[in-house]
């Protein structure tokens, strides 16, 4: 199965008596954009937590580039190329945009350096500026993040993750709280910058998911009930019943 970047095999997890995920299987291919949808409490974020190592599954395996990483620590997984964003904005509010990116870029090399090696740091900073330029934010490099609009903060949030040059980027509702236009702009930035990165996108805005994703997986009550192309999902009865059929009120 060459081309498979991430394989989730029979993963399950329970908190106390509550089964949050039951026997979930999912494969993400190289360069693919995968949508992940499901009602609130379906287990989407929990799945992210398992892939990134914030949680250990009760059973099942996570395989990345052919290696089992189920027990690998988060920091190690990040170095392997698995990076995520969070539902809530997770920027560093008191640092400048530039410093936010620098923190990400230095994570792998100079994160613990005390006596700095100027050249290496300058290289990292040059790279940060490059990313900002591509995202059209170079003019705001020196701004303190907390002084920016929420939309811009979310962009910085995503840029931080992209600066890590991930192979797999897990986006947890990046567009939540944004206006339609802001959301579309954010997706635009992601698509410009992500290159060959595989994406897994959780979003409540189904229009965006169906427009952007190559395939879409549907979680309901901790079970994977469908995984297909957007058109396939639209036609899938189980998915309809679990999610779409309930209409927009499930999505709010």
């Amino acid at each position: 199965m060459s081309g498979d970047l991430l394989r989730i095999e029979n993963v399950g997890i329970a908190f106390g008596g509550l089964k949050v995920l039951t026997d979930v299987n999912l494969t993400v291919k190289q360069g693919e954009t995968m949508g992940l949808i499901g009602p609130n409490g379906a287990g989407k974020t929990t799945l992210f937590n398992i892939v990134t190592g914030f949680l250990s599954p009760s059973h099942g395996e996570v395989v990345f580039e052919g290696n089992r990483i189920t027990q690998t620590r988060t920091a190690q997984r990040v170095r392997m190329g698995i990076v995520r964003t969070f539902q809530k904005s997770m920027v560093f509010p008191d640092l400048s945009v530039m410093e936010n990116l620098a923190l990400a870029l230095r994570a792998r090399t100079h994160g613990y350096a005390w006596w700095r090696s100027g050249a290496a740091l300058a290289a990292a900073d040059a790279k940060a500026l490059e990313i900002l330029r591509k995202a059209g934010m170079a003019d705001r490099a020196g701004r303190v993040v907390s002084s920016m609009s929420y939309g811009d903060q979310r962009i910085v949030d995503v840029l931080i993750s992209l600066a890590m040059e991930p192979k797999l980027l897990l986006l947890d509702e990046p567009t939540a709280g944004l206006s339609k236009a802001e959301g579309e702009h954010l997706i635009e930035v992601i698509r410009t910058l992500c290159g060959n990165t595989s994406l897994v996108l959780v979003a409540h805005d189904l229009d965006i998911v169906f427009a952007v994703c190559d395939r879409v997986a549907v979680l309901d009550l901790g079970r994977m009930i469908a995984c297909d192309t957007p058109d396939g999902i639209r036609a899938h009865e189980g998915a309809q019943a679990a999610y779409l059929g309930k209409g927009k009120e499930a999505v709010q």
């Binding site: 914030f54 988060t74 990040v78 509010p93 640092l95 230095r106 350096a113 002084s147």
Partner: protein, 332 residues
Amino acid sequence: MSDTVKLQDAANGRAPAPSRQILALGVIAVLAALLPLVASDYQLRFVAEILIVGAAVLSLDLLVGYGGLVSLGHATLFGGAAYAAAVASRSLGADLTLMVGIGTLTGMVMAFITGIVVMRTIALFFLILTLIVGQIFWEIAFHWRDVTGGADGMRGLPTLSLNLGVTKLDLSSSFALYVTAAVLAFAAWAVARSFVNAPIGRALIGTRERQLRMSALGYDIARIRMMALLASGAIAGAAGSLYPFVNQYIGPNSMQWTFSAMMVVMLVIGGVGSLYGAFIGTAVYLGIQTYISSYTDRWQLVVGLIFVLTVMIMPRGIVHGVGSLFGGKGKQ
């Protein structure tokens, strides 16, 4: 959350323009040089004490101001190093470099032990666990009578000296102690400042503000905190190593949690996250305690009121409070 921000946004230390900084340093240097001309022996020694305790408070600022880790066990690092230096001085003599070396090392070892125990906790849990670990260290010092003198502490220590190869410089005079303390205080400030401005310092701020994000970026939170603790322990230890020789005495009080709490109070009064505020807070606190108490038994009321007012009116401490009065620098 907004408090942490208010309290600590100075911690991000976007340094003021270099020229202004050099000017400030110059003014301080001139004042420091002029002080011995006007101050009496007693006052010089008092200032030396402020500088030494201030350096320890500054090292606490690394944890509180930059790491968001409020420790109630910081006095143990300071006092433990002081004991180590005092004990060593009995057999090895009190050579300055040796003492500071021993103190720094002891501070780091104790910080390391503390770190291993407290690493997984944050917030109130961190506060209480550091308190408990610190009190365990205190109990050891208090009961290890053969070495530490128990509750009576240690006195009759040799005087501090500096071996320059050719000659041996005696550092027992108030003036010499003042100069030594001033050099130490400056070095402590410089080291702490370079730490917070280095990538590790930025990463430390990152762990304070967004712990989850930092792990998602591949940072090892425990490792960053441990390095901050070690740096902090090294500075506190270096400061502690001089303390027995300035006081000519060291006792278990300097390891007790009440002293740790006093350090936190000093830090908050001076200004969290500014580094140099530590010295101002220490001076204010020790000044009140030493001078107001001559006039009234109610000096603790005064300290309490000043502290509460600081927390309520200028939570970022005197440094920022005064700064915003004069330069409007308080708001960005």
